[in-house]
Amino acid sequence: MTRTGTAPDIVLRLDGITKRFGALTANDAVSLSLARGEVVALLGENGAGKTTLMNILFGHYTADAGTVEVMGQVLPPGTPRAAIAAGVGMVHQHFTLADNLSVLDNILLGTRPLWSFRLNRAAARARVRALAQDFGLKVAPEARTGALSVGERQRVEILKALYREAQVLILDEPTAVLTPQESEALFATLRRATARGLSVIFISHKLHEVMAAADRVVVLRHGKVVGEVATADTSPPALAAMMVGAEVALPRVAAGVPGPVLLRLDDVTTPDEGARPGLKQVSLNLRAGQITGLAGVSGNGQAALADLLSGLIVPTSGRLILSDAAPAEWSPRAALAAGIGRIPEDRHKTGTIADFTLTENAILETYPQLTRAGLLDHRTARRFTEELIADYDVRCPGPEARIRLLSGGNMQKLILGRVLEARPKIILANQPVRGLDIGAVAYVHSRLIAARDAGAAVLLISEDLDEIMGLSDVVQVISEGRLSPGFARGTMGAAELGQWMAGAGFDHAA
């Protein structure tokens, strides 16, 4: 451990943290400091690098470059034990409590050798009670953890960190699982804790919470710090713009020629899934020859809309109408038969099968047509794949290589080819360029525009406002499962869209 000349009121300092996963740079020279008694919000989209950064701080990952300093001491990399000993406590999004133990046992677990466990129980209970009293964390030490509500479990996690004398508390998306009332109570606890000198890092992508709970906001995008402001000096729309980035304009694309409506959602509602909101009475028209861009902060119902159009879920109320007829049955295969081409959000988990070859992945949606008497026609499949590889410029060892060997961009090109070669009338492009390099981004975009010009209706879902504004003929904003009206190309700036993304405008529009 080395002493450095850090000012005494800085409890935590991250300096030049860089972390790469293969070609992806998850954190790019991130620096961040935290003063005693301060709440800093780490704001950013999914995949912006927030969780990676906190995992480095807590010692789950080792950074490729940069240092973590707690109380002026550099932490040895890669050891959570050292982070805990230095006074860092982390409350994960998914709690790490044993359901069959009491609250007290969960708090004590791992803090002391087992043989001295019983002796100090009474003292420990008194200390937990005192901590709970001081910080307003109401919870009974002898209650069985499995019987507690989610909010109570989170209090136990916080108590666990406080019991270990944490000076820095990291909360990873703490409100994702809480009701508004529980969130309010959590914020009250944080205020009491910081008044007693505790420092908090609060990870979130919810703007209003950040405004309510934090003193200062650090915004991450594509692994870099893109902004750092005091909450008093900013507003939700400004933060939204910072998060999704609207400084650089893409080259403008010629407008499409809108045709008839090919897919219509009529007052559609879908169920919430855990913390993921469903759609709330959404109506939407997708027109031939038009790209409809769906802007919004992630986790606001994009996944539900994508799942609906992919055939994975059905509406609980309202109707999905294709060319003036509601489909009798709705499934992925029905969606494909209806001419919907789907580029999924996660090309690794849902777009491809990693241990399948390129050929096997290329025919994943069309293999029933390649079957004769129960046997797959491998020769035709292979020829089709070879054409895809050539036409879509997929760089790969060959059609029989496993797709896991490909870079994200080449994997995406194969998926794009699979989708476009089926000549879809409607294209769902969900985050089609996330994590791709600039060349691949331009390629995917040009193909989508070509498909539009050939008469396809395209729904582009993206968290990148540049991409949405650059490509879309019509922009709609999704927020908490509700859909804004459509705004024609060029009629809305980033600031106005940011307002809608933050939830303003819906109240009087609804």
Binding site: K349, T350, T352, E365, T371, G374, L376
Partner: protein
């Protein structure tokens, strides 16, 4: 310490590591023999000669391998879809039960009769696995638990029937079924050699499973479901239907092990028909990396170890439990080797 994937494992890696696993198994066996106070090399030699050292020994090994090929294939087919069928034992007994009942008083005789009984047996095994798979796809019940527990249920049902309605009146009070009629007993593969057609059927089954896995649409669907269920569902693969088909094939194959033992080797159903062929099928399938050709090889290896250890035990006085220990260590080394083919260990 952590594991890092190896992009393109070389030939040395793919063959060398399994060979190393085999060497490690032999070393473990030697240590076990040494601990029993015997000469390690002599003990291993006795196992080898006991397994393949004579015509009689080799035929015994082939006979022992027959049910293991069937149960190994059953497990391999199911595991490809990540359907964890641990109930091959139950399906085997279901097939054996149907064979014993229909075979004692056959309505149709000769090859058509055998075929009908075999089909009925396979159907019974398929139905035994259908319940757990429907519980899994409809209600999310863990099939490991249901298939495992059904093993005991089926065994107790067979026990009840053998002590009751199925008890052979000519059996001098032993709990065994009436013998299968000569007209539907599986004939010998080659006249004069004590090896019945069950072995031939097992090889044919392995060939058909290979065809299914490598060339047929269903095999492709099964692999898609097993390797990435979410992606398969997204692409429109009917995941539930594929799992049901997988279960029917897997249960049917395991049941054919019971059919082949009752209609071929034994001619009657007893409670000790299977010394755990269903469970050993899991070992066979894992050693074979779920490949049907590998299943045949692994079943022969496992059968050889069992038969050879019995002979060695009689000759050298080392307990034949050494067979179980050898197989267990072979499995562990092989699973480890398979993992190390695809991942390298990085120490930090």
């Amino acid at each position: 310490m952590r594991l890092e994937p190896v992009a393109n494992p070389g030939l040395l890696r793919r063959l060398g590591l399994p060979a190393a696993a085999l060497v490690a198994t032999v070393v473990t066996g030697s240590l076990l023999a040494l601990s029993a106070g015997a000469d390690p090399l002599a003990t291993l030699g006795l196992i080898v000669t006991g397994a393949v050292g004579s015509k009689f020994a080799a035929l015994e090994t082939l006979n022992r391998a027959t049910p293991l090929i069937f149960t190994g294939l059953a497990v391999a087919v199911a595991f490809r879809a990540k359907l964890w069928n641990i109930g091959a034992e139950a399906q085997l007994y279901a097939g054996a039960l149907v064979t014993a009942v229909l075979g004692a008083h056959p309505i149709v005789t000769g090859v058509p009769g055998m075929a009908l009984i075999g089909l009925a047996a396979a159907l019974a095994g398929a139905l035994v696995l259908l319940g757990p798979v429907l519980l899994k796809t409809r209600l999310g019940v863990d099939e490991v638990v249901t298939t495992l527990l059904l093993n005991f249920v089926l065994l107790l049902v067979v026990s009840m029937l053998l002590e009751g309605v199925l008890k052979d009146p000519m059996g001098m009070g032993w709990p065994k079924s009436a013998p299968v009629a000569k007209s539907v007993r599986l004939p010998r593969l080659i006249e004069g050699l004590r090896l019945h057609w069950g072995f031939g059927l097992a090889l044919i089954a392995a060939g058909l499973v290979w065809l299914m896995q490598a060339r047929m649409r269903l095999g492709y669907e099964i692999r898609a479901v097993g390797l990435n269920r979410a992606a398969a569902r997204f692409a429109g693969v009917p995941v539930g239907a594929v799992l049901v088909k997988t279960a029917l094939i897997s249960g049917g194959l395991a049941a054919l092990a019971g059919f082949s033992e009752v209609a071929g080797l034994k001619g009657t159903l007893t409670l000790d028909l299977s010394p755990g062929f269903g469970y050993t099928g899991v070992i066979v399938a894992m050693l074979a990396a779920l490949h049907p050709g590998g299943v045949v090889v692994a079943a022969l290896f496992v059968a050889g170890v069992f038969v050879g250890s019995d002979a060695m035990s009689r000759a050298a006085g080392v307990p034949s439990y050494i067979a179980d220990l050898l197989l267990a260590s072979a499995l562990l080394y092989m699973v480890l080797a398979m993992q190390l083919v695809r991942y390298r260990v990085v120490w930090r």
